[in-house]
């Protein structure tokens, strides 16, 4: 076994924002994916070298349970092949080779990995075990329709599944534990993959497994304080826990108190799904530790569609050291890339993409190199601080990686090398985007959106992943409120976001269940509010208002809590609620600008957007200019004479008070900024 390149630094790895600290070394979270078992071992070294030549300090790989597990020779049960029979499966040799090539390793051992493997990398004997399978309302298996075989997905609540996953970790630990940093190159471990009911995440798809129903009851017990409390919240009579069954449809015919009880039951069910996933992650992380795989930071990745998914990013972030979003976007999905990144920038301490799609699986809508590169730069523009290129090296059931399956760089590798070099050169992981406005993302309303979704297995998360929004197919009735809250919160946030963008004011979204510290440091917080709201959310808003933050809420001051019982919410700052319909959002933003003297750095005209990132001591270092519209030349106001070097094209532009930037349609350009006295000799002057 080869020692890791940095074995001389004896400290355990730890995460500090978007930086991995290995003793006195600071490693940005920039990695690339290579699937060792899918490549002949003779190509491993070339592929690793080319991955490193992209500028990536870390190689990422899954470890697939279903690939390593093999039937026991001459007997019942299973064994694990880590290279004894098939050299492609020699994980230990691969990790040692990575260390030899001075690469660190980010290992993702599942148990679920997807990776376009049949059965998502889980052994078929596990998937076919009835004790493992998730259950539909009628007790049937829950089938996932992915090629090249549909399969019944496991239940995250199943004790049998949890136990078998733990056994896999123990088998893996024999290879990996001795190679954890500093003895070996493994510096990060991902726990499971893209939690969210395996994309079968409609409100009533799952999980009605006995173990899940037992967890549902314990969840209700804790949430409402015993069976009587549950019955009171649901406005039902429960003689026993068995009667407090999970909902399997939405009864929209109810009126009055019965309807209130139904809504509470439905939103409880939505909240339970989040709780189930967070609990599963906690369980697996503990099993990793018990298997001897503790001691390195843990991560989790959330698939596209998190706005409508049955997970809570803050809930998952509480269970592992780092949570990130996966990005598979076409360049035209500018709005989605922006919204998702701004959500992470506000909600977690280190926005990071565990999977930044470079290419795509064959069964996705094709993505071009332009799509992948534009997505990466747009996400960085709005605050992404690190990423894992997925895939860096091509493989079976994939197209479009910058390095081919024999370890040779493709033409696209040049652009990636330039982008990564610029991120490294500028210390992008430590730069900051000055943001003074936060938009709160109220989780209680998001749950209502999930609960009112009408299209079953084509879930809100899938709609969002397909380019729509999670509200697209929610029922539109008001459910006894003044307006359909399940739609209004999303639309009101979008209106304010639009007005902020038009005014060149940077902002982020903060999930209402993020730690209180995530709400600190803003001048203005906007929080949509209707008849009902979480008391905790409004108490925090009141505290923030008392501390001098300009808190804007509305269109209603809520008078109900989440169980739809009367509750006297404080009006933050004693203010009246605000409406953001139509042009009001623009007037509101204009008021914020006046009231708080909000800066509009590098302002330009819509639809062009700019984002500037500064060093910790305040020097503007990187400017992104994005054009979600047709080709044009953007005029950008400069705070001082500036030279701007395009990191991909290499050309430099300069200006005294204005920078003119030619933009193709859908373009995103990243510039490294220098004040003019330090401009490059070949810089081309702008027209102003």
């Amino acid at each position: 076994m080869t020692k890791a390149p940095a074995a001389r630094h004896r400290a355990r790895p730890r995460l500090d924002g978007a930086v991995l600290r290995l003793g006195d070394r600071e490693i940005p979270l920039l990695s690339g994916a290579l699937h060792y078992w899918r490549l002949p071992p003779e190509h491993w070294r070339d592929a690793l070298r080319q991955l490193k030549a992209l500028g990536l300090p870390i190689v990422e790989t899954y470890a697939p349970w279903g690939v390593h597990e093999v039937p026991r020779t001459g007997g019942e049960g299973v064994d694990f092949d880590f290279g004894a029979k098939d050299p492609r499966k020699d994980l230990g040799a691969f990790l040692d080779l990575a260390a030899e090539e001075e690469l660190l390793v980010f290992l993702r051992p599942g148990p679920h990995i997807n990776a376009e493997l049949t059965g998502f990398g889980l052994p078929s004997r596990v998937l076919e075990d009835p004790e493992v399978q998730a259950r539909s309302p009628r007790g049937n298996p829950v089938v996932l329709y992915f090629p090249p075989r549909m399969f019944a997905v496991p239940s995250h609540a199943s004790e049998a599944y949890r136990e078998q996953a733990g056994e896999w970790y123990e088998a893996l630990a024999a290879i990996v534990a001795p190679r954890l940093y500093p003895e070996g190159p493994v510096v990060l471990l991902q726990v499971d993959n893209e939690l969210g009911f395996f994309f079968r995440s409609g409100p009533y798809c799952q999980d009605y497994h006995d173990d899940a129903v037992a967890l549902w009851h314990s969840f209700l017990d804790e949430r409402h304080g015993g069976l009587e409390g549950v019955a009171a919240a649901h406005r039902r009579t429960y003689g026993s826990w068995a009667e407090a069954s999970p909902p399997s449809s939405f009864d929209a015919s109810l009126e009055g108190d019965a309807r209130a009880g139904e809504l509470v039951r439905q939103t409880d069910w939505a909240a339970f799904a989040e709780h189930l996933h967070s609990g599963f992650l906690r369980h697996l992380r503990a099993r990793l530790g018990r298997a001897g795989l503790g001691g390195v930071p843990t991560t989790h990745n959330v698939s596209i569609g998190e706005g409508g998914a049955p997970i809570s990013v803050p809930g998952l972030a509480a269970e592992v050291d780092l949570v990130g979003l996966d990005y598979y976007h076409a360049a035209r999905e500018h709005r989605a890339i922006k919204r998702r990144t701004l959500y992470m920038a506000g909600t977690v301490s280190a926005p990071w993409a565990p999977e930044l799609g470079v290419g795509a699986p064959a069964w996705f809508t094709p993505l071009s190199h332009h799509d992948s590169l534009t997505t990466a730069m747009t996400a960085c523009a709005y605050g992404l601080r690190g990423f894992n290129l997925y895939m860096a090296v091509d493989r079976d059931r994939w197209f479009g990686a910058p390095i081919d399956a024999t370890g040779r760089p493709r033409a696209e590798a040049t652009d990636w090398r330039r982008l990564i070099a610029a991120l490294q050169e500028t210390g992008f992981h430590s730069l900051q985007r000055r943001v003074r406005v936060a938009l709160e993302w109220p989780r209680e309303y998001q749950r209502l959106t999930r609960a009112t979704h009408l299209l079953g297995a084509v879930s809100p998360a899938i709609l969002e992943a397909a380019g729509g929004s999670p509200i697209d197919l929610c029922r539109g009735d008001a459910l006894g409120f003044e307006q359909p809250i399940q739609l209004a919160w999303w639309e009101d946030l979008a209106r304010v976001a639009e007005a902020l963008t038009a005014a060149n004011i940077p902002y982020v979204y903060v999930d209402s269940e993020a730690p209180d510290a995530r709400f600190e440091g803003y001048d203005v917080i906007f929080s949509p509010s209707y008849e009902l709201a979480s008391p905790r959310r409004f108490e925090r808003l009141a505290r923030l208002a008392a501390a001098g933050v300009h808190v804007v809420f509305g269109p209603r001051l809520p008078h109900l809590d989440e169980t739809l019982r009367p509750h006297a919410h404080p009006a933050p700052g004693g203010a009246a609620p605000t409406t953001v319909r139509d042009a009001m959002a623009h007037a509101l933003v204009a008021d914020w600008i006046d009231r708080r003297s909000l800066a509009r750095p590098y302002a330009t005209m819509p639809p062009v957007e700019t984002c500037v990132h500064a060093t910790p001591d305040g020097e503007d270092r990187v400017l992104f200019v994005m054009n979600p519209g047709a080709a044009r030349e953007a005029e950008i106001a400069l705070p001082r004479p500036t030279v701007a070097r395009d990191v991909i094209r290499g050309e430099s532009l300069s200006g005294e008070s204005t920078l003119r930037v030619p933009l193709d349609d859908g373009a995103c350009r990243m510039f490294v900024l220098e004040v003019e006295r330090r401009k490059a000799p070949r810089a081309r002057r702008g027209r102003s």
């Binding site: 049949t118 089938v143 019944a152 064959a362 059931r397 081919d404 380019g467 739609l487 639809p607 979600p628």
Partner: protein, 363 residues
């Protein structure tokens, strides 16, 4: 029919997009579509006809929610009703919403579909069998008035069993054999190699892998194809059928409704088919015969059409006479897959579908 151990490799982003766009002509435009103009809720109705509308109604037909695939949620339909008993209300809705297609579903139908599929699910079924079950269950729900799609390109297409489909594939690509297609647009534009083993497609390979097998090519497609066939035979399996052409030719043929079009292009070697198995030869012959019938009514590019197409007639007669098992795919399936594909492609590309369904070669 699709192996659980399927290997898919050898494409970069461009060659894969090119291949997919061959069968989805509207794809390049969709990929280049401008981003949404605004973060704020978009205007609901009207606009240029594009995309699809998905609408959910309750038992009484009242619209509960509707969305446009490109413009998002449609608010103005709340409270209106939509009958699923015929196409007419869906046609009207498509016009009102500026959409090419409408899928209307009764509330709860997706849950019902999932339960029906779960009951029929067999882990050891092939993916094609699993997909056919999905279609079958959806048709049951359609027949029960629970969902309706307009236009429905498969409306009159009988659903074959997986076994029947397997027999059709036997004609196109027998077990243990490979098929290869390469298209040029100046340079190699895309390529596809398929291999069938143990009854299932287990390899889908792209141009990067193909050119690794061939080594450097000369650059003249009318010569390079031979090298490709040899390389695939050497590296993958004996080649059952090969199709080589310039991209615009094949793109046109896939959307071509005219009888005789395929036979004409093969005859003048704008399309090279080699090897050409007997079933394909018979299909082209039949296509040629139909083309002769139509050619008397119009000129086709100055070619001596009857003479050209007539050359296929003996082939057809010979094949039919000597090969009793040379049943066409159309005979096996009970519908003409190329006709269905052509109609779908014309629709996807925005063309009016006024061709005759039976005018493409019956494979």
């Amino acid at each position: 029919m699709i192996s659980a151990n399927l290997r898919f490799e050898g494409f970069d982003a461009t060659s894969w997009t090119n291949l997919v766009s061959l069968f989805m002509p509207g794809l390049p435009d969709r990929l280049r579509r401008a981003p949404d103009p605004s973060d704020a809720p978009a205007a609901d109705l009207g606009g240029r006809a594009s995309g699809s509308v998905l609408v959910v109604v309750d038992e009484a037909g009242q619209v509960l929610a509707a969305t446009h695939s490109q413009r998002g949620r449609i608010r103005e339909l709340g409270g209106t009703t939509l009958e699923l008993g015929s196409d007419a209300p869906l046609v009207a809705l498509a016009a009102r919403c500026g959409a090419h297609r409408v899928l209307a579903l009764r509330e709860g139908v997706m849950e019902e579909l999932a339960e029906r599929l779960a009951l029929r699910f067999r882990a050891d079924d092939t993916y094609v069998a699993q997909i056919l079950e999905t279609f079958r269950a959806a048709r049951e729900l359609e027949a029960a008035g629970q969902l309706r799609l307009w236009p429905n390109p498969l409306q009159n297409v009988p659903l074959p069993s997986a076994q029947t489909l397997g027999r059709a594939v036997d004609v196109l690509l027998p077990d243990g054999r490979a098929a290869v297609m390469a298209l040029w647009d100046g340079d190699l534009w895309t390529a596809l190699v398929l291999r069938r083993r143990h009854g299932e497609i287990d390899l889908v390979a792209g141009p990067e892998l193909l050119t690794r097998w061939t080594g450097p090519l000369g650059g003249d497609w009318r010569r390079d194809y031979r090298v490709m066939v040899d390389a695939v035979a050497r590296m993958v399996a004996p080649v059952h059928v090969g199709l080589f052409a310039e991209t615009p030719t094949v793109r046109g043929l896939l959307r071509e409704a005219d009888a005789g079009a395929w036979a004409r292009e093969v005859a003048v070697r704008n399309v090279v088919m080699t090897p050409m198995p007997r079933a394909f030869m018979a299909a082209l012959g039949a296509d040629a015969v139909r083309g002769v019938g139509k050619a008397s009514a119009r000129a086709l590019g100055g070619l001596d059409v009857p003479k050209l197409f007539g050359s296929f007639v003996p082939i057809v007669r010979e094949v039919r006479a000597r090969v009793s098992h040379a049943r066409s795919v159309t005979e096996i399936l009970g519908f003409d897959p190329l006709a269905v594909l052509g109609a779908a492609l014309r629709r996807d590309g925005g063309d009016v579908d006024d061709g005759e369904a039976g005018d493409t070669p019956e494979f």
